[in-house]
């Protein structure tokens, strides 16, 4: 093939890819951190005894004189920790610990490879405001000499941890364990800023560097163990009383494990060729603007650890996981690890619904109903975290929405695609009432919008997690409001463009630590428009978005104005009666000249208002649709900058309905009811609801009557 032709084809391909969702290689550099951990579970004393070897490389251009560690379990040590002090300010959503349920972690020994003892330099740090001076969840040690750029620190640590009773998804119940945030973990050193190592807060999750993990877990032989990473070997002790299982994984930033003698362990394969049809590859590739071969999915080993009482739900678990691997993979990028471990959380360890690299906990009940998407919802959500928290590893302390919000948004998309709408499910003693009653069905975006509008004016989405007004506003903002804002963004930009944005963000920032600014930059780059205003308005502010119809009138047009008019040298009065006459006859009075009688005309006046403080920007407009009684329609656009805008339509028919945003692009609008106005009320729905309300009140009264 001539060289010029090759160049031309290459250029065309490049242009095509730039026009679509350009795949950019993710961070590929080696991880600056390596762990090898040996840990033994003392099942009687509920204690972990561990050794840890850490290699940390200074990849910055600064000399580093110390090292900061997370000692998360000290948050459960006493009520003076930041976590418990913050919890005290919460009413129902605070945490409590029973007698004997406390947990802690002690650094028994910390030395450098050359034997230098760093233990005497250890001190607890409280970097966050407001201060909790007795918090012990962050510690630092000083190096004898600053670590120069490119140098490595080799540390040997011995630690002992008391496993707490279940608290914040870690702990034990009887002989079931879920062990998370359990080892001394260095913070993230950021050039120009130093160690980013926040205390363990009630509302915060985590942040760490990507690392290579080799972890040897020793437990009594009767336990079934599951953990992050690949299980490479299991060795029994000489006396047969314990087993040691080794797990290995590159490029993950946390490591969790679980042990329970009751677990049933199952393995299945996600075989991409069986799960995704060629047509599906073509369809998604077209949406993404990528060649189909570039979005092919790998095969993955799926591991399920499930409790025997949930045995009947094994297929539901795998089906949901396959859907998650498929759609997250197709839309946002292939899953990059060989295994994924799904844990049905040990009974009463309160560890359900949580994500860790290559492992997540789901959670289900003893009885389920097919119409209720549980455990499917939680499986898809927690697997999805593996993409955002796991791969696009943002700082969850500082910008939780980048994980929670994006993942809530993407969970809703995957769930809707794979399962459709789900049903609400109240349950009594574990029995889902959906088996007896019909409850409303909903899509996640509807639920997100509900949460979003309730907290729009409380906190900005981008607040650091421990600075939200309460746990509720934290949760509703970073999960639901962020998700609802992303759904609105999708409706503004279009589904395909949004898909390209999400994929670009995922692929560009895999194995990195992006911030909100990086996400905005990707949105701007892929959409080709400056969407910064959108994030200023909805992510960095507490502004309520509410555009609506302020007033709407449609009347027969008066043919003449009332008053005294000079005509043919004399003055004549046009009265109300004259004004209402048909045009020809009235004009005859006014002008003295007979005109042809014309058809009646109607004036429709619509006043739109911006009721909330948030406003549309970036050249976007809000659309006004007017439907007339003769079936015709008219449209106007408003930039929404001022407080109000008035539109007048002159048509031969009165208006029947006026509506703004008829496509419901602005999902984040807190009052959708005022987006439209009809001339004739329709009460069928209200009667229906009233009849339902009366029925439920009658039922309640009848129950109440048993007391009298």
């Amino acid at each position: 093939m001539p060289k010029a032709l090759v160049s031309l084809i290459s250029l065309c391909l490049a242009v095509r890819f730039l026009g679509g969702g350009q795949e950019v290689p993710a961070g590929t550099g080696s991880t600056p951190l390596k762990y090898e951990i040996w840990v033994e579970l003392d099942d009687q004393a509920k204690i972990l005894r561990g050794r840890e070897e850490i290699v940390w490389k200074n990849t910055t251009s600064e000399a580093v004189s110390d090292m900061w560690f997370h000692l998360y379990w000290n948050a459960f040590k006493n009520e003076k920790s930041a976590l418990f002090e913050e919890s005290r300010e919460e009413s129902l959503l605070g945490i409590k610990t029973e007698k004997g349920g406390w947990g802690w972690i002690d650094l028994r020994r910390i030395v450098l490879a050359d034997g230098t003892d760093l233990r005497p330099t250890l001190e607890f740090m409280t970097p966050d405001e407001p201060r909790h001076p007795e918090d012990q969840t962050v510690a630092r040690v000083r190096f004898p000499a600053p670590l120069q750029p490119g140098e490595e620190a080799h540390l040997k640590i011995e630690f002992e941890s008391k496993i707490p009773r279940p608290v914040l998804r870690t702990g034990y119940y009887r002989d079931s364990y879920f062990i998370a945030q359990w080892f001394p973990k260095p913070g993230v050193y950021q050039e120009g800023r130093g160690w980013n190592c926040h205390q363990y807060h009630l509302n915060s999750e985590f942040f760490a560097d990507f690392a290579t993990f080799i972890v040897h877990i020793t437990v009594p032989a009767r336990f079934v163990v599951g953990a992050s990473g690949r299980q490479v070997r299991t060795v029994s002790s000489q006396d047969g009383k314990t087993i040691t299982t080794t797990f290995v994984q590159d490029r993950i930033h946390d490591f969790a494990w679980t042990a329970d003698p009751a677990f049933i362990r199952l393995e299945r394969d996600f075989i991409a060729d069986l799960e995704v049809t060629p047509e599906e590859y073509l369809e998604v590739a077209a949406k993404l603007g990528l060649p189909p071969e570039s979005i092919r999915l790998p095969n993955i080993k799926m591991i399920l650890l499930i409790r025997p009482e949930h045995r009947s739900q094994i297929e539901r678990h795998f089906k949901a996981l396959r859907a998650a691997i498929k759609y997250y993979g197709l839309w946002y990028g292939p899953y990059p690890y060989e295994t994924i471990t799904m844990v049905d959380p040990p009974f009463r360890t309160e560890s359900g619904g949580m994500e860790y690299p290559t492992l997540f906990t789901a959670g289900t009940g003893i009885m389920t109903d097919r119409k209720v998407l549980n455990p499917e919802g939680v499986i898809i959500h927690e697997f999805g975290h593996g993409y955002w928290y796991g791969l696009v590893a943002n700082n969850e302390f500082e910008e939780a929405w980048l994980d929670e919000g994006i993942n809530t948004y993407s969970t809703g998309k995957v769930l809707a695609q794979a399962y459709g709408a789900g049903m609400f499910s109240p349950s009594v003693f574990g029995f889902p009432l959906a088996k007896i009653f019909n409850f409303p069905v909903y899509y996640d975006y509807e639920l997100d919008r509900l949460g979003a509008i309730l907290v729009a004016e409380r906190d900005p989405i981008t607040n650091p997690s421990w600075r939200f007004l309460s746990r509720t506003t934290y949760g509703l903002n970073v999960y639901q409001r962020a998700s609802a804002c992303l759904h609105t963004l999708e409706r503004l930009l279009g589904e395909n463009l949004m898909l390209r944005i999400m994929r670009m963000f995922q692929m560009r920032y895999r194995f990195r630590h992006p911030e909100t600014g990086d996400f905005i930059a990707v949105v701007n780059e892929v959409s080709g428009r400056d969407m910064t205003w959108y994030f200023d308005e909805f992510f960095f502010s507490t502004l309520n978005f509410d555009y609506g119809i302020a007033s709407f009138r449609t009347n027969k047009k008066k043919n003449l104005a009332r008053g005294i008019f000079d005509r043919n040298g004399s003055k004549g009065e046009i009265t109300e009666k004259d004004a209402r006459k048909p045009r020809g006859e009235a004009a005859d009075r006014e002008s003295g000249e007979r005109e042809e009688r014309q058809d009646e005309m109607f004036l429709t006046r619509v006043v739109l208002r911006r009721f909330g403080e948030a406003r549309i920007g970036g050249g976007f407009e809000i659309r006004l649709r007017v439907v007339f009684e003769d079936g015709t329609e008219d449209f106007k656009f408003w930039d929404g900058q001022s407080r109000w805008a008035k539109f007048v339509f002159e048509r031969p028919s009165p208006a029947a309905v006026v509506e703004i945003d008829p496509e419901r692009i602005w999902l984040i609008d807190s009052n959708l009811a005022n987006n439209s106005r009809k001339t004739k009320p329709s009460r069928a729905g209200i009667f229906r609801l009233a009849a339902k309300a009366i029925f439920w009140v009658q039922n309640s009264l009848h129950f109440l009557s048993a007391l009298s």
């Binding site: 009887r174 409790r307 025997p308 009482e309 009974f347 009940g365 003893i366 009885m367 003693f429 574990g430 029995f431 007896i436 009653f437 019909n438 409850f439 409303p440 909903y442 509807e446 639920l447 919008r449 509900l450 509008i453 309730l454 309905v657 509506e659 807190s670 009052n671 959708l672 009811a673 005022n674 987006n675 439209s676 106005r677 009809k678 001339t679 009320p681 329709s682 009460r683 069928a684 729905g685 209200i686 229906r688 609801l689 009233a690 009849a691 339902k692 309300a693 009366i694 029925f695 009140v697 009658q698 039922n699 009264l701 009848h702 109440l704 009557s705 048993a706 007391l707 009298s708």
Partner: protein, 299 residues
């Protein structure tokens, strides 16, 4: 046999006095309408002229529910202040209705007429009110103290549960025991009220004591009768749910039928209330006739 005869007579009496059912249904409907009216007014104000309002007809939708919650989120804290007086008003109304209901059921040979119903309702209101306060005291005492004792082993069971099934069974059994306990107390106060009517007594406390002695003599029979009527209630509820689930969710005709079915169920529930009282009345009467009032009290 005695139980079945009482039940059969109860069916006959409740079947004959259908006008009572009409009164009860009407009062329940109007009271419910009074409570539901503000909600309807809010919906009328915010949704009747909105396109979003059309979705209400199609069923529950989180978009309009969201709007409703958002607009009236500040009303939440005032709910208890509204609900409490409503509950008090309902109790007062129901005590009043009970007087009319039992009074007319006991007047076996008389036709049910509105004046007679109101006369009985007024006549027994004071006595039944005293029974109501006494019952509240007894409920609080039994469920407050005995309830804790009963709960203790179940709490232990739940605490030591190994799986969710342990919690399910412990909770269900505890609930069942509380329900049976409640049925005993409810039955007791039913008989107190019936006895007050039958004996035309004004002494609520004394009648309660004599009812206690009466039930001591034939507790299990009385309770079986109560539980049999309870089974009728369960059967009716089951039939209602089975059919209600099958109704189409859209279409004016099917929605109308669904609402009609709901009201039929309410009427059936109210009729079962009548059945409780009428079968208990016949049971009491047959026992009194058989043993003689004094004999029972002496026993």
């Amino acid at each position: 046999m005695e139980i079945l005869i009482a039940l059969s007579r109860g069916f006959q009496t409740a079947g004959k006095k259908t006008r009572l059912l009409l009164y009860l249904w009407l009062v329940y409907f109007l009271f419910s309408l009074f409570i539901a009216a503000p909600l309807c007014a809010l919906l009328e104000k915010d949704f009747s002229r909105s396109v979003l309002g059309e979705t209400i007809f199609r069923g529950s939708d989180l978009l309009w529910i969201g709007d409703l919650l958002y607009q009236y989120q500040n009303l939440g804290p005032s709910f208890p202040f509204v609900l409490f007086p409503l509950a008090v008003a309902f109790f007062a109304l129901h005590i009043f209705l009970n007087g009319g209901l039992i009074g007319r059921l006991a007047a076996e040979k008389e036709n049910v007429r509105w004046p007679g119903f109101l006369r009985d309702a007024g006549k027994y209101f004071g006595r039944f009110s005293r029974v109501f306060f006494l019952s509240l005291f007894v409920y609080a005492l039994v469920f407050g103290i005995l309830g804790r004792l009963i709960s203790a082993p179940f709490n232990l069971w739940m605490k030591n549960a190994q799986t969710g099934w342990g919690i399910f069974w412990a909770s269900t059994l505890r609930f069942l025991i509380f329900l049976l306990l409640f049925s005993c107390l409810k039955m007791f106060f039913d008989y107190v009220k019936i006895r007050l009517v039958v004996e035309d007594s004004r002494k609520a406390l004394r009648t309660s004591l004599s009812t206690f002695r009466f039930l001591k003599a034939g507790f299990f029979r009385a309770w079986m009768l109560f539980l049999l009527v309870g089974l009728v209630f369960l059967a009716v509820t089951g039939i209602y749910l089975l059919i209600a689930k099958g109704f189409p969710k859209s279409g004016t005709g099917s929605l109308f039928l669904a609402h009609l079915w709901e009201q039929t169920f309410i009427a059936a529930r109210l009729w079962i209330t009548m059945l409780f009282f009428s079968s208990e009345y016949h049971f009491l009467k047959s026992r009194l006739a058989h043993f003689g009032n004094r004999t029972i009290e002496e026993k």
